[in-house]
Amino acid sequence: MHAFDPTLLRGDRASVRFEPGPAEDKLILSMGPQHPSTHGVLRVMLELDGEYILRAEPILGYIHRMHEWMAEQRTYYQFMPNMGRVDYLQAMAWNWAYAGAVERLAGIEVPERAEYIRVIVAELNRISSHLVWWGAYLLDLGAFTPILYAFDDREVILDILQDVTGSRLTYSYFTFGGVYADVPADFAPRCLAFTQRMRSRLPMYRDLVTDNVILRGRCEGIGELSVDQARRYGATGPMLRGSGVASDTRRAEPYGVYDRLDFRIPVYPQGDAMARYLVRTDELETSCDIIDQAVAGLPDGPFAANAEDPEAPQGRSQLRRRGGSGENCRPRALRRQPQTLPGQAARAVLFQPERLLRIGQGRAAGRCRVHPGQP
């Protein structure tokens, strides 16, 4: 019979650091990962004084799946479906990051039609991702109704993308050298109808939520992040643009055909939660502008390069891809010995800290690395 081990009552590594102290009103709370607002992925040890958070320590790893190790067991092609699971709210971004890095390494040219299709589906997916953020963010702040509007709009996108990809969430639509299948005949008019609908909804979103005094009170002046802090902490995407830095990977290191498209980069200098909120809601409109231009410019032609047996040179490559919640979507440092892509199993290593949710940041980060095949 096992003797009782009293140290078990002390909790884990994080909780032992949060001891109840002498202060009368101090409350220690282990919040998550099963708390509804932490979505199963995050736990935060909290020290509270009433409604004020005195100390917080985030604890990660609850849905960590070790994609890097999974990639070691698969070929390049077999690994593509994992990309739909890295950020399942914006699978297209990860499809692109992975396909783009392999294309760079193997020197595969992507046909123009595929490039435009990629832009359209990625921006549609970005809008659907932002809509989930918007709805869930307000839900967590205590407003229930907006998520119903957001999911109503998002449903239109999911229907369009379902007819393109066969999936509603975890897309595996990109392939090395293009996309897996051509878009249906009614794709262009449906995209334009959606952007028109989305634009007509944005004033209502603004009136209902953005100008709401309670939202403003809960976001303005909260979680201020200076430019220098953002840089030293490695904050990217809306986090950085909410601190006044006009940095957008689609502009700074253009991939695909983004260098041919005209779009505004939303920037707000305040550095608080409200600035980040405004950056993301403005990006809904930016994505609509990009979709309109890409649909207008969608050329005829092949939707994928004939990428059979391309020679992959040895080396490493990375593609920085602008994601929905941050800009760290970039499978990188692919390395392998010369061998054909679909052939011998590549030993691959991918690491991705799922959605590295940080308090008040909501920054998604990830990266992957592919190692050469076992002989």
Partner: protein
């Protein structure tokens, strides 16, 4: 073109890289002890630390630090190699607080000990997990000479001029700490 501040890092090798193919413009190989000074130089130059990652190679464990200015193709990578039996790397978490979790990750998966880290712990795997899952069996490891582009290998002296890196490329010189 190699910026002037790179010399202040006292690099072992500096190799210009093809951004279109690799996403990086400059690869800077350092002796591990030089890392904190190099990070301080990049901090002064306004670089953002994108991530810290590692690879298990024949020569040792390679640790890579990606820095960028985010305003164009400006990414550069700092590399250093530490031996398998003493994987000690100075922490840069005091200079770049964002490195804190990256270094925990590398410790979690590769067992790299970041000396001076304020709180080195398993970031993603359970705290009672045994071992470091991305370390390879010795026979599965590859050398830098096999993995890097031949132009890089020539620039670092890993390959003879005009000959592609052979499978049995000599080990890279990584400074006095290399076992």
């Amino acid at each position: 073109m190699i910026p002037a501040f790179v010399a202040a890092m006292h690099p072992v090798h500096v190799v210009a890289m093809d951004h279109a193919a690799t996403g990086v413009i400059l690869s800077i190989t350092l002796e591990p002890a030089r890392l904190p000074d190099a990070a301080a130089v990049l901090d002064r130059e306004g670089y953002l630390l994108e991530d810290v990652m590692a690879s298990d190679l024949t020569e040792g464990i390679e640790v890579q630090y990606h820095f960028s200015l985010l305003d164009g193709p400006t990414r550069l990578v700092l590399r250093l190699i530490v031996p398998h039996d003493a994987p000690d790397v100075p922490s840069i978490a005091a200079i770049y607080p964002g490195a804190n979790w990256h270094e925990c990750e590398c410790f979690d998966f590769y067992g790299i000990r970041f000396v001076g880290h304020p709180d080195l712990h398993r970031l993603l795997l359970p705290e009672d997990f045994e071992g470091h899952p991305l370390l390879k069996a010795p026979e599965a490891r590859r050398s830098l000479g096999e993995l890097m582009p031949s132009s890089y290998c020539r620039a670092c002296g890993l390959a003879e001029p005009d000959t592609p890196a052979a499978a049995s490329a000599p080990a890279v010189k990584t400074g006095p700490s290399d076992a």
